[in-house]
Amino acid sequence: MSERSDSSEILNSLEKYDLDISDYLPSHSGPKLVLNFNKITTVSEVEGIILKGREIENGIIADIVIKEGTVFEDPIHLCFGVNKETGLQEIFPRIIAEDNSSVTLQAHCSFPNAKNLTHKMFGHIYVGKNCKFVYNETHYHGEQNGATVAPVSYVYVGENSYFENNFFLTQGTIGRMKIQIDIYAFKDSRINSNVKAFGKNSLDSIHVRDAVFLEGENARSIIKMKAAAIGGGEVMMFGITEGNAANTTGHVDCTEIVKDRGSRCRAIPLIRATDESCHITHEASLGKVDSAQLNALMARGLDEDEATDLIIKNML
């Protein structure tokens, strides 16, 4: 299969989650970095954004610098695709958003044919002062439970900046996945982190650690973790918020639905305060779907399974 048709398959798989693949095509003028397994197929920069990638033995190293004051409406696209059934992909991205910048990063990890495929990422995101930085990461691991995915990210959010993290893995199967994201929030910064995951069968296992360390005065954060495990799937959500500075506020919210025998959901909201003026809270609920919602849908003619599926779909 040629490299062009390989890339097309990865791009087409993005349609599984209703994305316009024209954003990823070389003809699209926006900034992007597209991979086909461990080959960089497209790198395109725009004014104010530097993108540089280097291929290494089993993956790539990538630098993305958003220069001071750059405000970019369209998302910067990163596509880490593998259409092979087996293999190892290691990604080392480092993203630096300088002061007063505003960008959205749209990362897609698409492994449509994964049977015994490993994807690892070790990334750093540095956000300067007075920035708005939105990081969206969506995964699609095919239908064969064959992916092992382990991304680790460290994020530093500067003074008076807003950082939003949206991680979604709700289409296709999961395989085995362990995600870690540690966010360090400086003075007056705001963090909004959302994780959604759906384990569909006994070969699906996802463990997520989403941690926010409030390191600067008045920093605020909210972590929202939503997950469902059906057909014997396993989900574990570990939400951490630690207040280490004056007047910091944080909240961890975990909601998980478990359906079918053998399915397992776990949630560990872990909150800590080392400063007397912190206010850190958490709430977690796990188990069957809300009976009021279920009854309302069943009263409209859906059977229990259909109603449960609809509630899960709506939540995710």
Binding site: D63, V65, I96, Y184, F213, E217, N244
Partner: protein
């Protein structure tokens, strides 16, 4: 603020060392249920960074504040191409909170106006040197295992074919070894040593990776 009572010194240096498994211990780890491994104090990168910089030399509070700031640099974009200007600095109160925490866990202590680490640390050169002993011990183990493997496998052939009997025996040997060494006073009883070796190793491994990929 750290309380100033007669118990202060005990909290400062005290560590729970209990050999007997008790009802409030987690069955999977045999450790108290409220202590994760590694302890949560290591979860935070700033606290780890403070330990790393104090492992080089004792520092005053102001020196620590100066040393924990950092300026991120790109991995492959050179200084000539572009040099980002971001600098991160932690405020005094936050560092103070982290130091209280490290003191409370007995990892750091204040000696007059300087903070210093409260545990031994091993550097890369010493670790390389230690490797010779590691090989020597391992080779002796291999000899013993080679001599007894057949006898063990014959004796336990009634077990399910997937039972990793040798793995189980090796794991139990390590437990027994520690227990016996402790009883004979041949090992220092320092529970945090393992984690801090880990930290040093991690740093070394990362530096090796950087040298391999970027130089």
């Amino acid at each position: 603020m750290k309380e100033n009572t007669k118990y202060n010194m005990h909290r400062f240096i005290g560590k729970q060392i209990i050999d007997e498994i008790q009802p409030w211990f987690e069955f999977s780890t045999s450790l108290p249920w409220d202590e994760r491994s590694p302890p949560w104090v290591f979860d935070n990168k700033v606290r780890r960074q403070i330990l790393v910089i104090l492992s080089e030399s004792p520092l005053t509070f102001e020196e620590i504040i100066e040393r924990v700031l950092f300026k991120p640099a790109p991995l492959i974009i050179t200084k000539e191409e572009y040099e980002p200007k971001i600098i991160y600095q932690w405020d005094k109160r936050t560092i103070e909170n982290h130091l209280f925490n490290l003191e409370w866990y007995g990892l750091v202590r204040k000696n007059f106006d300087k903070y210093e680490i409260n545990f031994p640390i091993i550097n890369k050169e010493q670790l390389d040197d230690v490797e010779n002993y590691v090989i020597k011990f391992a080779e002796n183990w291999v000899k013993v295992i080679e001599e007894s493997k057949e006898e063990i496998l014959n004796k336990y052939q009634g077990l399910h074919k997937n039972t990793p009997i040798m793995d189980i025996i090796i794991e139990k040997i390590i437990e027994k070894l520690w227990e016996t060494l402790k009883k004979k006073g041949l090992v220092p009883n320092e529970p945090n040593l393992k984690h801090l070796w880990g930290e040093q190793l991690r740093k070394t491994k990362f530096n090796e990776w950087v040298l391999k990929n970027f130089k």
